[in-house]
Amino acid sequence: MSRIIAVLFSLLLLSGCGINNLPAYDEQVFSAWSQVENQYQRRADLIPNLVSTVKGFAAQEKAVLTEVTELRASVGRLNVDADLINNPEMLQRFEQGQAKLGSALSRLMLVSERYPELKSNQNFLALQSQLEGTENRISVARRDYILAMQKYNTELRTYPGKLWHGWLYPDLKPRENYYKAIAEEAKQPPKIEF
């Protein structure tokens, strides 16, 4: 009798977890991605103010200033496509655009080092720490997104998630394309030197 109870209890433990995992993890992937987009947007919102502040002290650094402005605009145009999360190629282009913007920004901050007046400007100092914080938030959000995808993919391919997938959620697809698109970049996060 106790044996039967033990078997039943164990089966319950094995299968009890999992029936809702796939849709829940799928949802988590989406919310993790929207957090990534939020943080990119936050960075984009900082740029006009930053550019105009730097311009006030270092107008001769035209090259990097226009580069930042143009990259921001081009990434913004990509972002218009709402279907980004269901299109790996678009996602990859978006990520590449964001990475370029990130490195242009770090060049801008590097250039700013040469202007003592700019470096001691209160407004610039505030913007600098905000940018630093935003870059940090972006890397946190991207890492969370990658982890969410990893969790989802693993659940989809392993038992018992695999069972539930075939049985109840055949329309959910693995996300390894997206995973590749974003994880490649993540290995080498753009570094900001101040």
Partner: protein
């Protein structure tokens, strides 16, 4: 007998394995959350730890915001920004849903520090403010090797910023604060009374309030500060805050 048991045992073992794998998935060597001040690096004096813990506790009772100071020996392979938010999530500082936690993190060997801000406090403690507190308030103390003074001054400002009003923290004094033996005795008595009394109360009268709540324990000061019965409320961190080095 054992042959008959084996299939059941196998499945049981498998089930247990799954549970342990789930639990052990994200094991990073973070220090244990032993209280509101976790001084792993051993750079803070005991009296300062006590003062800070009391101030943070009082502050949490008022606002439910959780503020914690953590000193560690080194960051390992992580940057302080990575370590900070991971530690915040690991400990779950801040209340769940409000995400109103804040950690002042100090790494002794890397000579770096950071104010890590939970999602819910990012509006009050902006990155710019956090960076400014680190650079202008704390770092000057640390450069002179005065960790106690830096942490006290920094915490003072953190609480001021978070509450928008002055929260008085005691000044650091070189002499030890005198302890009233009568008061100490009374505190120990209350502590023991609560320690033994509360569980009994629960058993006998079906006292069903949460016995070890996350963080604040009503007005029962002695219990919390003696047992270190402090735990994070499950708050989330997203990389907000600012830092610097000394």
């Amino acid at each position: 007998m054992s042959k008959l048991h084996s299939p059941a045992l196998y499945i049981m073992a498998l089930a247990l394995l799954m549970v342990t794998v789930e639990v052990g998935a994200d094991q990073t060597p973070f220090p244990k959350l032993t209280g509101r001040v976790v001084d792993q690096a051993g750079i803070l004096s005991e009296s300062v730890e006590g003062q800070l813990s009391a101030a943070f506790k009082r502050y949490e009772t008022q606002t439910s915001n959780q503020v914690v100071v953590a000193t560690i020996n080194d960051l390992g392979s992580k940057t302080i920004a990575q370590y900070g938010y991971m530690l915040g999530r690991h400990w779950g500082i801040g209340q769940e849903g409000k995400n109103n936690g804040l950690i002042l993190l100090i790494s002794k060997h890397d000579r770096e520090l950071r104010i890590e801000v939970g999602y819910g406090l990012e509006g009050l403690m902006t990155d710019a403010l956090a960076t400014s507190i680190v650079h202008h308030t704390i770092v000057p103390f640390f450069k002179r090797g005065d960790f106690d003074g830096g942490v006290i001054a920094g915490s003072n400002q953190i609480l001021e910023v978070l509450s928008g009003k002055k929260v008085q923290l005691p000044r650091v004094s070189s002499r030890k604060p005198e302890q009233n033996p009568l008061l100490m005795g009374l505190m120990i008595f209350i502590f023991l009374l609560l320690y033994w009394g509360l569980p009994l109360l629960r058993i006998h009268y079906g006292y069903s309030g949460s016995y070890y709540p996350g963080g604040s324990l009503g007005g029962v000061d002695a219990f919390d500060s003696f047992s270190g019965g402090f735990s994070g409320g499950g708050g989330g961190f997203g990389g907000g805050g600012g830092g610097g080095s000394w």
